[in-house]
Amino acid sequence: MEAEIQIKQLFKKYPDGTEALKGINLEIGKSRFFALLGPNGAGKSTLVRILTTLIRKDSGEFFIDGFNPESDFSKIQGTIGVASQENEIDPSETVENTLVFQGRLFGMTKSQAAGRARELTGMFQLDSEKNKKAGILSGGNKRRLHCALALVHNPKILFLDEPTVGMDPEARANFWEIISRLKRDKGTTVFLTTQYLDEADRYATEMALILNGEIRYSGTISEFKNMVAPGNNMTLDESYLHYIKTLNNNELTKKYEEA
């Protein structure tokens, strides 16, 4: 497998003493749809923030499309697109200007950026909103704009950190259709973190399960389901809950025995 994202022995400890990542090792292949799953506070967002160069790791190393974040910072930024949990939009700018400016920041000419903005407003059903200031858009449309911004420069790798939070079912379906098309037509690699396990089940093929900063499982989703309940045909949601429950019971039993 040609790894597009390579993570080796990644550690991160916050100043308050929280060990967010405890030696993460992962390899994600080119054009794969990968989902990182885990409960709140497990370390998902920390890992995404490190991989997208928003925060620094303590030790270990990682490569994005072969680029090292220490020496190839701007190449990594040009390779990845990020749609995180919170909207990152300029409320005082129009939808169209926001998209054009984003394109210009990524080195597009004015006409290239304007063309790309037209494409994206169409794709994300924002045509009728393009002259409105982002600050007055509805919550769902703000979310669409936020996600569209991540795609302006046609990134090879997409980091989606809870991307569909706040979207109505129609917008959510539209969003996944766009992402699926990107993956199919352009071979975009997708790194997703989500609490909506049905979305991961439907679109992702590979996954890792992170608990307390450690990877507990890494492989395909079908293998995971099979490992949890062989031949039971569970959904990912059911398999995940079953796995966590079993794990908690085992840990409780272990603590009880130790006591």
Partner: protein
């Protein structure tokens, strides 16, 4: 797609900063209004004393004109901090942070945009001053010298204001620098030439006050009532303070929580 170029990102970000200031021009317009007010009121109120020899051939208007230029930058220096703060509050700073533009440019560009905007209003003020009869001893060279000092003074204030805002995380704190510098205006040769100041302590304080050097440097360029050394010393002081303020803003940026 073109390969990303650091200069193009800087230009785009500076342009964005200027457009932001023009869309919400309260900071630069406050500075400009305050300066014009000083010029008109001081000249109307005490302009008569300009007939005294100590004020030189340019009269009181040329003597008091540097104050208007200095107060212009003071009034508008909080713009960079406010732009940065607005981007952080909206989360848009994170989006900029994820672009290939070098991260230091994200902090420097609003500072430069604010400084360029301040220079624009300085040019406007110089034009108004010229219409009112302010004299420029060396003609265009005087104008260039005044613009150079204004640029450095403005950069100093904008850099410190942005730095304070980044450290406190509150847009109101961008005005701290203006408030801190304001008393320095009155502890200098603001209203009268050194020869006419009778108070020993004020004279002593004015020697240690950097505002004195920018005032006197400008006066040398305007009506020749001061010596060229003031201009040179002002240049050295404000190159140093500009470097310090930009370094302060950049070091403050390390505290930003993304």
């Amino acid at each position: 797609m073109r390969r990303h170029n650091m200069n193009s990102a800087s230009v785009i970000l500076i342009k964005r900063g200027i457009v932001k200031l023009l869309k919400q021009p309260s900071a630069p317009l406050t500075g400009f209004g305050m300066s014009l007010f000083f010029l008109l009121v001081y000249n109307a109120g005490i302009g008569g004393i300009g007939d005294m020899e100590a004020f030189g051939t340019g009269g009181y208007l040329s003597f008091v004109f540097p104050i208007t230029i200095i107060s212009l930058a003071m009034g508008s220096s909080s713009g960079a901090g406010q732009t940065l703060n607005a981007d952080m509050q909206s989360g848009y700073f994170k989006r900029l942070y994820l672009s290939p533009a070098p991260r230091w440019i994200l902090v420097i560009s609003p500072i430069l945009a604010d400084t360029v905007s301040s220079l624009f209003f300085t040019v406007l003020l110089i034009a108004i001053g010229a219409l009112f009869g302010v004299s420029f001893q060396f003609g265009f060279v005087s104008v260039l010298g005044i613009l150079l000092l204004s640029f450095l003074w403005s950069l100093t204030l904008c850099g410190f204001s942005a730095g304070v805002m980044l450290r406190t995380g509150k847009y109101q704190s961008a005005a701290i620098i203006t408030n801190a510098v304001f008393p320095l205006l009155f502890l200098s040769t603001t209203f009268l030439p050194r020869e006419l100041i009778k108070s020993g302590w004020l004279l002593a304080v004015s020697w240690g006050n950097p505002v004195t050097y920018i005032l006197e440097g400008n006066r040398y360029l305007l009506a020749g009532t001061s010596s060229p050394q003031f201009f040179i010393i002002a240049l050295i002081i404000f190159v140093l303070t500009s470097v310090l303020s930009v370094a302060f803003a950049l070091s403050s940026a390390k505290r930003i929580k993304i």
